[in-house]
């Protein structure tokens, strides 16, 4: 049990709803924070609203592909981001979600969970994404009776147990590596070939308690009061097999949090917000960046860069309107 104290300060966000903001970033992830940094430095009246400050970084045990940091935890990186924006006095509203957006006479009105309404000339949607579900029998039945979506939160609960990881991308392989340190046996099941970085795959292969099934489709999660295992299909041999396990971490990618703007802007078939090279959406003055967009690579450095572009584009828009 690691005691590692991570105190994040008291949260007292009082927001001034009487002023007209220039730029409001919705989202406290890499995209929202970097956008706030750029906007504030351009002299814009800037606000960042985060339902969960830190975003997906909080669920990431280690980041080793953000230039300038050889390796650090996702949480530590998010603390650096927040310190940076606080050093230039960006206003933050934390633990509050925006529930709706309206554009009235060139001004955006953002309604918060608590009913307060913010007014702004431009807005950035940087609401990121949430874990995708497998969509198989048993997934909902055993949700929280074995089925889990946050490896760093829940791995400690599987000490000495058998655990399955569903997925073959970076987050699945990272989860396998992390969980294998605690669990007795880890089985990774993925429906096609690995999509993860080779360095991660190599690191995983070095662990002795990980078994891998590629080209295997999970058909069902079974159990009684809690999950007991999965049934899967080996697509090469067309044979069904079972794996007994106490838990399964589902790490099969994400779905964009675009619900907030689904009636305002164009989305693609995957519900991602369509943006151009300036992060403009189909609605002038409304920008999107990071995982919520149709950007092909969902990465921290990509999200931060897009946040920067969105803020610069918003500044241009304000100057010419």
């Amino acid at each position: 049990m690691s005691l590692n104290f991570s105190f994040s300060g008291l949260n007292k966000s009082k927001v001034d709803t009487s002023i007209l903001y220039d730029f409001v970033a919705i989202g406290g992830g890499p995209a929202g924070y970097n956008a706030a940094l750029y906007a504030k430095r351009k002299g814009l009246k800037t606000l960042v609203i985060a339902k969960k400050p830190g975003g997906q970084l909080l669920n990431t045990s280690s980041v080793d592909n953000y230039l300038g940091f050889v390796e650090l935890s996702g949480e530590a990186l998010s603390e650096h981001f927040i310190e940076h924006i606080q050093s230039i006095d960006v206003k933050e509203v934390n633990d509050q979600a925006i529930e709706s957006i309206q554009k009235i006479n060139e001004i955006f009105e953002l309604t918060m969970e608590n009913g307060d309404v913010l007014k702004t000339k431009t807005v950035l949607v940087a609401t990121g994404s949430n874990p995708r579900k497998l969509g198989v029998k048993g997934e909902d039945t055993f949700a929280n009776a074995g089925v889990a979506y946050c490896a760093i939160c829940d791995a400690p609960l599987f000490k000495g147990k058998d655990v399955i990881i569903a997925g073959g991308g970076n987050s699945a392989v990272e989860a396998a590596i992390d969980v294998a340190k605690i669990a007795k046996q880890v089985t990774l099941v993925h429906r096609s070939q690995f999509r993860a970085d080779q360095v991660l795959i190599d690191k995983m292969m070095a662990q002795s308690n990980i078994t891998i099934h590629l080209e295997s489709q999970i058909l069902e999660i079974y159990g009684d009061v809690k999950m007991r295992g999965i049934k899967a299909l080996n697509k090469k041999t067309n044979e069904e097999f079972s794996v007994e396990a106490d838990g399964i971490f589902i790490e099969i990618g994400n779905i964009p949090n675009s619900g907030l703007v689904k009636d305002l802007v164009e989305l693609n078939a995957n519900q991602e917000v369509l943006v151009n090279r300036k992060q403009e959406t189909s609605l002038p003055g409304l920008y999107a960046a990071g995982d919520v967009t149709d950007t092909p690579y969902k990465q921290i450095i990509v999200a931060t860069a897009e946040g920067a572009k969105a803020a610069l584009a918003a500044n241009e828009y304000i100057n010419t309107h």
């Binding site: 300060g9 008291l10 009776a145 939160c153 609960l157 599987f158 809690k226």
Partner: protein, 212 residues
């Protein structure tokens, strides 16, 4: 013993403790045997108390009269008492380290009488609770979403004397976690029967409580 809190965290806490209004007492229960984290918890509470003269610690054995008074059955556990020495249902089972330092510190601040914001409509619903309610929130120390759930349980407890809110560190109290089938945190159990998963808004807590 080496300090648990490094200089940086100490400085942060000292500053935050400027917000303490009245005195708060932490009453810790430990056990001589089978208690891996008793010593660390005692160390943590002592170190935290040293950072403000409004904070103090008392310590008793798990088998003491005092333990019965606060319905303590696990060690380490501790409760917070307000300036009048009253128990308002704020309990921690296991060490609030890692991310849980956040729910620990905000409980201290709120227990000291510092104002906390809560919409009038919710406050009214909380005050209407008229039967005994126990809210258990199972957490792990590495879970960033857990302190939010613990803080809500404690807030409801502080606002209504019928309610007890307790944090339970799932790894330390493995048997209890198994009993309640905890395989994902935060997991919230109300009166040992209803459950909620994840850091839910206060409204969801209230819906469950009102359905009792």
């Amino acid at each position: 013993m080496e300090k648990l809190l490094n200089k940086e965290v100490q400085d942060q806490l000292r500053e935050v403790f400027n917000e303490l209004k009245e005195n708060v007492t932490m009453v810790l229960f430990t056990s001589e045997k089978d208690c891996e984290s008793c010593e660390a918890t005692q160390g943590l509470l002592t170190e935290v108390a040293e950072l403000s003269d409004k904070l103090s610690v008392k310590q008793h054995d798990l088998n003491s009269e005092e333990a019965k008074q606060y319905d303590i059955t696990l060690a380490p556990s501790f409760v917070l008492l307000n300036a009048k020495g009253e128990y308002q249902g704020v309990k921690f089972n296991g060490i609030p380290a890692g991310h849980e330092i956040n729910s620990f510190i905000s409980a201290l601040i709120e227990m000291s009488g510092a104002e906390s914001e809560i919409p009038a409509e919710l406050l009214e619903r909380i005050q209407k609770i008229d039967k005994p309610v126990n809210i258990k929130v199972f957490v792990t120390l590495s879970c960033p979403h857990c302190p939010g759930a613990v803080q809500k349980a404690h807030k409801i407890a502080m606002l209504n004397k019928n309610v007890v809110g307790e944090m339970i560190e799932a790894q330390t109290f493995y048997d209890l976690s198994t009993k309640f089938n905890v395989s994902g945190v935060p997991k919230i159990i109300i009166n040992d029967s209803l459950e909620l998963v994840g850091n839910q808004p206060i409204e969801r807590f209230l819906e469950q409580i009102e359905s009792l």
